[in-house]
Symmetry: D2
Subunit: 363 residues, 4 copies
């Protein structure tokens, strides 16, 4: 099972970058949920390439067609299948990949795994295009959560060392989330965003690519959702987040900073707020204790590596002939996938959280 | 399902800290595998409290009794059940937890999740004691992997900012792994280890606790194991690593450092070594590309938060009466769980990797 | 999860009878398997309506389009998605179903389950059309098994009390299986088949429908495949067979006849045959003991109820208005689905057995 | 995974007949459910051997010890582990099984599956003793269902052709279920029960064993529980029922009789009863349509083969030496396991139905 996932909700993602189509089947969605297709299209558009020089010029429309599971814009309760046709594919760009694996890509590991039978054109099933069905599923789950007041939003926390303003860990509003969601370049501080874009364009011109960090927050998750040991919110979110290509790290709340803290710094003091709710004064725990939501915002950071496909010549091998070789990658690639990965992170978190909310007695 | 996990191998972890017993059932182990019970006991001993002032003085023997699945020291192929009796329990220490949740603990979230019916004594099912059955399972899986040449070893990378020597990311030997495994305090640089121990004892005397980072490496994993999207090695390892209480972050290879890199730095150039093997000159990818092993060492770092139970008075609430309260935690607690978490990290990685190796045609 | 199934192989079946398309995603097929698309089409054709008056006149072409997972007619190892467009749909026939449930159909239970949001046109996701993707998946799995010598074949054992010749339980050849597979009306004794067809046409003219039994056999399954308790061959086959609409019973080997036997009759004596193989003289155990294959043919019978949609007026209710009503079903329906269910039974068995063969060390 | 099962509730059954203990872990039970331990003991006692000559004289007390998951007789919500020590074991009776497989038993198939490493003493993990943990789990699930008014009861429908009075398929009361549950020999018609017992004792004296049929019914299941295709009530019940050793057939409602019916006979007419409920006049569908409960009683029959272990000499083989041999089985065996299998069938149905009820919005 590479591309199946099941936890109250089931996902099946299929497709190869240069095959006829990619898509997703989502099973066990609650019946009768209204899906706003225009909002869904907007979610997908956030993942689409932009015209500002920070993304690939490949013209991916990626309009999903819904094949089942939706009637009169409401979920029927049976599998919802969405389908995205592959149109703007130029397969000749990838002709030598079967021999010369691109450093940082899954070309070599994929050939070993599938004994040379996998479709290498455009990265095949390893392509970043496969995050489009993930986004579709996450957008659907997100609408169901938002109807219950649970909002998830992400932004570019940093690119190549240029930092955006972080979310407050204790007080994030729905407006904070919606504000960044509507931007073409998802940062909270637009001045910093301009510096990032400049840096990305420079990298692109220099044949390079850049990495970064995405911060994601979820608000209004009720306390008491999740489970200890293997079925905690962190376990589930982690399993899905590492399904986004290029993710190399994940931390919740204070994350790796906890390693330098003492207990009294890291422990978040409880207090009763003016409405009588149990809150914590700080939120180093990132809204999750023992795998279970505390009612505080769920916060996490995701590390995204620089796009592996760069124009600079690179050392590689012919792994069949066992010779050292140089490789010059052609084709159209994103100089930095962090902006396009922002909705992917939200999508993964939405899916994870809806799957856990379906265990919640008051869902 | 909090405590079930299934992926070729199935695990069921049960027990509460102050109940009669804790344990684990492991299903679908390959039949006929010799299990060296003395080595298994040694693995468990690495998780046990030490006499050097860095751990809890609670005398946990934690000798597992095997109830099924092993005959003449070989796996029978049917479920292997191990059982650890709880003996040195002092339940009165925890009498007020049901009202006053400890900051940084799952007392509050557990009460919300289980509507007050969970056993809070000693942390119940959330107790760090439940990592003993995890270690048992990981030790069994580790022996099966080691028989095929695959070794996993971890060490304390840092405690409270004091750093051990890192493993090389490209060349780690079996001897490197075994050397640190045999130490009472699992560091590679003993001088740095002494500084850590001193720091931990000081924290303990001051009513504090410390966090840290664990580095883990696996060698000799063949290339081609794992899958893209949801069933990659990273996804599976992440799902299990976040099952260890106190983990707040996880990164593979260069991890969060990728965020500041450019593509040509981060991409690992391929080359053919003197034996004709495909290798990479650097290993920022941590041995995994597209969810699949590359044959390079699998490397990861895990952030461990300071023990939540500290002697210092802390702010909390009575979440039923909705009042703010002060809490002074009694009882015996580890001032730093990083040393004892080292075999837990190895265990989680062993389980994840064996589950994937069972998909490998040449296993 | 209604329509996901996962056991080494994963299946996701989607679609509604009158929606844009139905289909299936199959994950974790072994890479590099040659799929003969013409043979696959022939398998699907066995499920298609016939021109002989025994099936619905609805013109279902049901040609599957493959969207992913196949390259140069070989499995790539990543999800294989097949897609069948719905063309000949006449939705007005079903306009009153939302109020007046058809006896013997899932109209009422579906409305309760999905709170009225499911698509009732043509039976929606409950339609027998959804066995087309099941057949597709089973045909793919069957080709992979047949390449290893494992053949599964089914035939109509009886319709409305008219019996075909049963397979021998101890000696079935590949030729026995292929012979019946090539027939338009899948019986071993064509004279009996003619009587069945006559009976079906008579039922059709009288506004009635007929039930029957399907016998299925698998040969050359090696001994030692399967597991006790929940993961036996019987458990897996049963879970899939009851996924075919209209199945009301399943028995293995001597099945319900064992209830009248004594032990010495029912126990199958072992012997060594001339080639040195362990065999049994009789095969009341149907090739499975303790959930595990014995090497003898795997034999099973499946009871199929008469098609629920009949032309005769029937008593029903308006379950919203809570009134008793009469219903006259319009539309085009099979007077007997037993012939078309024959490949469905084979498909379910193929999927179950391939999923278990993938655990077999010598696969 | 032989002995894990997971569907909202997770089960892990472990143990071998002559090992230290057998048991079960049940995960994800709802928290706060009161478990009446005396009723639980009574359920287990129904499976225990009797003194009336119809069962094995082996003295199995099988008192389960609860190791976790229960506090003050209420479920805590975390894994409930029950443990049954093996005491009255006489391993020498089985010394030659490793060479000479018993006809009708899993000795040969188990040896092939586990390559000779499984524990053959007393049947090992294949022993009927492993139904004790299944009964424990089913008894727990049954108490949770009965608190919501859902009662499941089974009886011996026939032994060796001697028939008990069947339950009405349309009207079964809680009293009907409880009446038979309290009997030592679970039949509705005691005169027929005496004939069965006489027949069983005769078989026992003649070195023989007998098979039979168990009928099971569930009342008060609300309409709308279950799902189409792979996750219907029938699929789940079937997967669990075939986990009981010796089961060779399963049918729902009219079962195999549907094969001889015409549609107007088999279709169950709907009507509105005096309370305004949707009912069916007959119940050939056995309370399940399209995998989903209709609100009518869920009815099923299970075929149980004669005990494989009989005293009469039987033909077998030495499967290592490849020679034909005669076998005389020693030891203490049930001449008919049908009476003891009655609570096992109830247990399997209880587990299946609770797992589906947990999907039900009003649970």
């Amino acid at each position: 099972m590479s591309s199946f996932w099941s936890r109250n909700i089931s996902l099946s993602i299929f497709g190869e970058s240069h095959g006829p189509a990619i898509g997703v089947v989502i099973d066990n969605l609650p019946p009768g949920e209204y899906i706003d297709l225009e909002k869904l299209r907007q979610f997908m558009a956030r993942r689409a390439p932009k015209k500002d020089g920070t993304t690939t010029p490949r013209g991916e429309k990626d309009l999903p067609q819904i094949m089942s599971g939706l009637l009169n814009d409401r979920t029927t309760g049976v599998p919802l299948c969405a389908f995205i046709q592959n149109t703007d594919t130029r397969s000749k760009d990838y002709s030598n990949l079967a021999r010369l694996p691109r450093p940082g890509h899954a070309d070599y590991t994929g050939a070993m795994r599938y004994r040379g039978f996998n479709d290498v054109r455009g990265g095949g099933h390893f392509s970043g295009r496969l995050t489009a069905p993930l986004c579709f599923a996450g957008a659907v789950c997100g609408q169901i959560l938002e109807r219950r007041g649970i909002y998830t939003g992400a932004h570019i926390a940093s690119v190549h060392g240029i930092h955006d303003d972080a979310f407050s860990r204790t007080k994030v509003t729905k407006e904070d989330i919606l504000e960044v969601r509507e931007k073409d370049f998802p940062v909270r501080n637009d001045a910093q965003g301009e510096k990032m874009k400049e840096d990305i364009r420079n990298a692109s011109h220099g044949g390079e690519s850049l990495g970064g960090i995405i911060e994601c927050v979820t608000i209004n998750m009720p306390a008491g959702v999740g489970s200890p040991i293997f079925e905690g919110l962190e376990n589930t979110i982690a399993q899905l987040i590492f399904g986004i290509p290029a993710v190399k790290g994940l931390e919740f709340g204070a994350g790796f900073q906890v390693a330098e803290m003492v207990g009294s710094q890291n422990n978040d003091p409880f207090y009763i707020d003016e409405k009588g709710h149990v809150m914590t004064k700080t939120n180093n725990h990132g809204g999750i204790l023992g795998g279970i939501s505390s009612g505080m915002p769920i916060t996490l950071n995701v590390a995204i590596k620089p796009t592996a496909s760069i124009a600079k010549p690179q050392e590689t091998v012919d792994f069949r002939a066992k010779t050292n070789e140089m490789l010059q990658i052609q084709g159209r690639h994103d100089p930095c996938i962090v902006p396009r990965a922002v909705p992917c992170v939200e999508a993964a978190v939405n899916i994870a959280l809806l799957s856990h909310m379906m265990d919640y007695p008051h869902f």
